[in-house]
């Protein structure tokens, strides 16, 4: 039995633990790390179960090629030669941008970097993106506009230092349990004030000094209302506003249109709640905002994020421990995948593809000419392009758009129209069912590399066992594809060499190396070999210089309830499962805990519709219908339904609306109109 220190493959909290590996090459358990600054000897339910899917018999163990309509086993050589030949052929016929690449927040930094490099340096397209598009694209855009850096401003440890926390759109104890537990400890032990602004009665609401339930999608009105009160009562941090920010007068003008009475009417709450929240937040010495998908997954996601930045700047709550805007990243390496430039508009470290000097730098580093200068297709726009017949091939690594993207019937149409689809994954998925080539990848337990957690902590992933079957680490597959495509600049002896290359082209990762992140990691920016990393961003000065107030107006969500579809449907995750369920639904304890798709409905609505708890129901929107189990609970507010999106047999994303934020291109998963009826 060996014990190997690695990082959890689930949420972005980034707990480290030891994997227990048997001599027969199978995993036999986990043990928490006592020394890790985030885990501190603990783990959540998913962490304790993180070894369990790895040796599941469903693992993809051999490459497969579709022949006569059926996926049949093939050799690696055959499969990869076909991938290269088809992609090149399609590009020759339709241009370089007829091909797109989906990288993954589940892969390591090194792998995301290489897939980005493969797309840009080898296949000469900026059509590379990943699922951050679906979760925090609005964060990256909104925070970068206000502060100059699109990441969580503070550290997880700051959750225990804040005097007041505004938690909005984050079910923290279920989705980032070891962060949620710190909030509970801070409230119970230090007496910190807690404001929960969330439609659902989540666990943290039980501890809240103030639980406010604004209507879904009215965040801008709520936050503008708070700022209106703060300015009217003179509670703003005048010195901070004067010395650290710009564009204040414009903000003041914009929020003057949101007196608490008006904001409360939009939000469906009382003016008093807005006033109380404003005072509580503004009067705290150290206040912070914690948010997640409830803020970002809207057609006005960027506006929501900008409102958060406005509030912390107005009250001087940034650039100090215990303060800041703290978006909690949902996946183990979604921060890193963004940092690595697996985004349609930038290289590593958010260096824009439209900047000629940056392109020149990468051309030199990669020994290529004429890197593409146009911003590429995002995940969401690539699927739209495929559905319209404007994208011919797609290479998907570790993503599952059939389950994760909005409007499943639309995604199905898009995938069916593709001339060539490559899916590289650890398990068969509803997406791989459409693939022409399937490539078996190694799991997190079978490879080396790094993940970057939500607090920008770059930390190690270590190989505990050999890859199952013929599966190979994603980075090795990308290198092989590059080599077969005739590119000589992607051959590495180890992942350490890849990270060294990343550091050489990425200022914020300049001081990162595998050696330096060995035990507890390093938080970027880490610009040089003697830089100790940065737990708190924007101390003394924002990355962009002065913080920019961005006045925003409330815009209603794209599809609101009406007579035909009278309910508001919101989607998200539940505690035992993760994303499209490929791993957690193959983990015994997790699947046992939540084996059925369900929809949360309030007791009042259930009574009106004569729906009983655990009874089968149909939920329908203009896009489709699913059958699942009713969960009658006061977690749900009257008029609102909530569905987790993990279940293939009742995919919530068959129902969701493919309406995008105009800038970030993130879909509106949190609001659409739905109806519900009993199943006979």
């Amino acid at each position: 039995m060996r014990r190997i220190l690695t990082t959890c493959p689930y949420c972005g909290t980034g707990c480290c633990f030891y994997l227990l590996a048997e001599d027969d090459g199978r995993l036999a358990g986990v043990e928490p790390s006592m020394e890790h600054p985030v885990a501190r000897g603990g783990l959540c339910l998913k962490g304790w179960s993180a070894f369990h899917f790895v040796n599941h018999p469903d693992r993809l163990t051999t490459p497969m090629i579709r022949r006569n309509g059926k996926l049949e086993p093939a050799s690696w050589g055959e499969a990869l030669d076909l991938v290269v030949a088809k992609l090149k052929d399609i590009q020759a016929g339709h241009g370089n941008d007829s091909v797109a690449f989906f990288a993954s927040a589940k892969m390591t930094n090194e792998e995301n970097y290489l897939m980005m490099k493969l797309a840009r340096a080898v296949f000469r397209t900026n059509n590379v993106d990943h699922c951050a598009r679906l979760c925090h694209a609005s964060t990256v855009v909104g925070l970068a506009a206000a502060f100059g850096s699109g990441a969580m401003t503070n550290s997880i440890s700051c959750m225990e230092e804040a005097d007041c926390l505004l938690v909005t759109g984050s079910n923290t104890t279920e989705q980032h349990p070891l962060i949620g537990s710190r909030i509970i400890s801070n409230v119970k032990e230090r007496g910190a004030k807690l404001i929960v602004a969330d439609n659902r009665k989540i666990r943290l609401a039980r501890f809240a000094d103030l639980h406010i339930r604004p209507a879904n999608g009215t965040d801008v009105a709520f936050l503008n209302g708070m700022m209106n009160v703060i300015i009217a009562e003179g509670l703003e941090d005048k010195e901070f506003v004067k010395t650290r920010t710009e564009n204040y007068e414009e903000l003041k003008k914009a929020v003057s249109n949101y007196p608490p009475e008006k904001a409360a009417e939009i939000c469906g709450i009382t003016p008093g709640e807005i006033v109380e929240a404003a005072r509580m937040f503004a009067k705290a010495h150290k206040a912070m905002i914690v948010y997640s998908m409830g803020i970002t997954q809207h057609t006005h996601g960027v506006d929501n994020v900008k409102s958060c930045t406005n509030l912390v700047m107005l009250t001087g709550n940034i650039g100090r421990p215990g303060t800041g805007v703290n978006p909690l990243r949902g996946q183990n390496n979604v921060q890193g995948a963004c940092d690595m430039g697996a985004l349609a508009n930038c290289y590593t470290g958010y260096q824009g593809v439209t900047d000629p000097a940056i392109r020149a730098k990468f051309e030199k580093a990669w020994a290529v000419d004429n890197l593409p200068a146009n911003v590429g297709l995002t995940i969401t726009t690539a699927i739209n392009a495929a559905a319209d017949g404007n994208l011919n091939a797609l290479y998907v690594a570790g993503e599952n758009p059939m389950m994760s993207d909005p409007d499943q019937n639309h995604v199905r149409k898009a995938l069916e129209k593709l001339e060539f689809l490559v899916v590289q994954d650890i398990f068969p998925t509803p997406t791989s069912a459409f693939a022409h080539v399937v490539l078996p990848a190694a799991s997190f337990a079978e490879k080396d590399g790094t993940f970057t957690s939500t607090e920008r902590r770059v930390q190690r992933v270590r190989k505990a066992i050999e890859p199952v079957g013929e599966s190979r680490a994603d980075w090795e597959i990308f290198c092989d594809v590059a080599k077969r495509a005739g590119y000589g600049g992607m051959q590495y002896g180890s992942v350490s060499e890849i990270m060294d290359e990343i550091a050489s082209v990425t200022p914020i990762y300049g001081g990162i190396s595998l050696e330096r992140v060995d035990k507890i990691g390093l938080q970027w920016p880490c610009r040089s070999k003697d830089d100790p990393g940065t737990p708190v961003l924007h101390v003394g000065k924002f990355t962009r210089g002065l913080g920019l107030f961005s006045p925003v107006e409330y815009r209603p969500s794209a599809e609101l309830p009406d007579a035909e579809y009278p309910f508001l449907l919101s989607t998200g995750r539940c505690y035992p499962h993760f994303h499209t369920g490929t791993m957690t639904r193959r983990s015994r304890t997790l699947e046992r805990e939540e084996p059925f798709a369900y929809v949360e409905i309030s007791p009042e609505d259930a009574k009106t519709l004569d729906i009983r708890d655990r009874q089968p129901v149909f939920v329908a929107t203009r896009r489709g219908e699913v059958r699942c189990m009713a969960r009658v609970t006061d977690v749900a507010k009257k008029g609102v339904l909530f569905m987790p999106f993990h279940f293939e047999e009742a995919p919530a994303n068959r129902l969701t609306n493919n309406a995008l934020d105009p800038v970030a291109k993130i879909p509106e998963y949190k609001v659409c109109a739905a109806k519900i009826r009993r199943s006979s």
């Binding site: 227990l20 358990g29 501190r40 000897g41 339910l45 018999p57 104890t173 949620g180 537990s181």
Partner: protein, 331 residues
């Protein structure tokens, strides 16, 4: 009576590998102390309780029960060598005694027995806890004991197997005849506050004096991480499941379980008699302090401290009992 240096003990543990599957506390890559084979990391006898569930050597997190192939059934192969396990605290020895009793009661558990029989267990105690804390001396309930005197470890052997191994330990320096007795005196004088709290809580639970509101309050703080159960060396619950592999083999496994989960006691109908988290929180404490008192005649929490160490929201059994006694103890 002799005392041995860490280096002498390290060499001794390595020498036992010829005859035993040796597990000793080691310091891992990032400084975490766990059990491991000698050489997995520096020997870490000092430092107090080993944080992970120490009974996992006999009852692992995930364990093959049997495999079915072509209609035939095969059991996992027995261990090639018996286990030698060092690093239990006195409280851990109490836990192990209870777990031995649990797995031997009723239908004896063959998988446990295979690992446990022939195993030699060594406790570590005395002046070698975390930050120099004095650890209670077990005085039995194990085969051997290494009692730290602040500099070296005095060896005490209790069972025949322990005495036989102790006789093979070379080196050491003689210590005064009363050296161990003095340390035992010190051990006996250790405060028993936590035990008193636990006993008072047990009494209150048996007298049904703790209302649902208390358990709801504690349950609110529980994020159902299950760490309390999975770190507890006295917890013995497991779940059984089968996995069919592509090559036609069906394997049956058992996996640690947690009574803090809804799925633990949910019925096939979907109904759960322990469906409210408040009930499950109550159950966790009640089981150890009341139900087991009725079944076994004694409390089955031995105050090893692990659940309080790993619970991310501060509701390990000691913390809950302190709160419980504070609220209802005076009445």
């Amino acid at each position: 009576m002799k005392a041995f240096s860490v280096e002498e003990l390290d060499a001794f543990f390595r020498s036992l590998e010829a005859d035993y599957d040796v597990r000793v506390p080691v310091t891992r890559h990032d400084g975490t102390r766990t059990l491991g084979v000698p050489g997995d990391g520096p020997l870490a006898l000092a430092g107090g309780v080993v944080p992970s569930r120490i009974t996992n050597v006999f009852f692992p997190h995930l364990e093959a029960v049997l495999a079915v192939r072509d209609g035939g059934t095969t059991m996992p192969s027995p261990l090639a060598k018996p286990l030698f396990v060092a690093g239990l605290t006195a409280q851990d020895a109490d836990c192990l005694e209870f777990v031995d009793q649990f797995f031997a009661a009723g239908l004896p558990d063959d998988l446990y027995r295979r690992r446990r029989s022939g195993a030699v267990v060594a406790c570590v105690s005395g002046r070698c806890g975390a930050g120099g804390e004095f650890l209670k001396i077990a005085r039995g309930k194990c085969d051997l004991e290494l009692v730290g005197d602040g500099r070296k470890y005095i060896l005490a052997a209790y069972s025949d197997a322990g005495k036989a191994l102790a006789g093979k330990l070379p080196g050491g320096e003689p210590v005064a005849n009363d050296a161990l007795a003095k340390l035992i005196e010190e051990s006996d004088a250790l405060p028993a506050d936590d035990l008193h709290v636990l006993q008072t809580a047990s009494k209150l639970l048996l007298e049904n004096k703790v209302p649902d509101e208390f358990w709801q309050k504690i349950a609110n703080r529980c994020i159902a991480c299950t760490s309390c159960n999975l770190a507890c060396p006295s917890c013995t619950c497991f779940d059984v499941f089968d996995r069919k592999a592509a090559d036609g083999i069906v394997e049956r496994w058992r996996l640690w379980d947690s009574c803090q989960l809804d799925g633990f006691q949910r019925e096939a109908s979907g109904h759960n008699p322990m469906g409210a988290q408040r009930q499950r929180t109550h159950r966790r404490i009640h089981h150890r302090l009341a139900a087991d008192v009725i079944k076994w005649g004694h409390i089955t929490c031995y105050l090893c401290g692990r659940c309080d160490m790993v619970c991310p929201t501060g509701i390990g059994i000691k913390a809950v009992c302190r709160e419980l006694v504070q609220e209802y103890g005076a009445a």
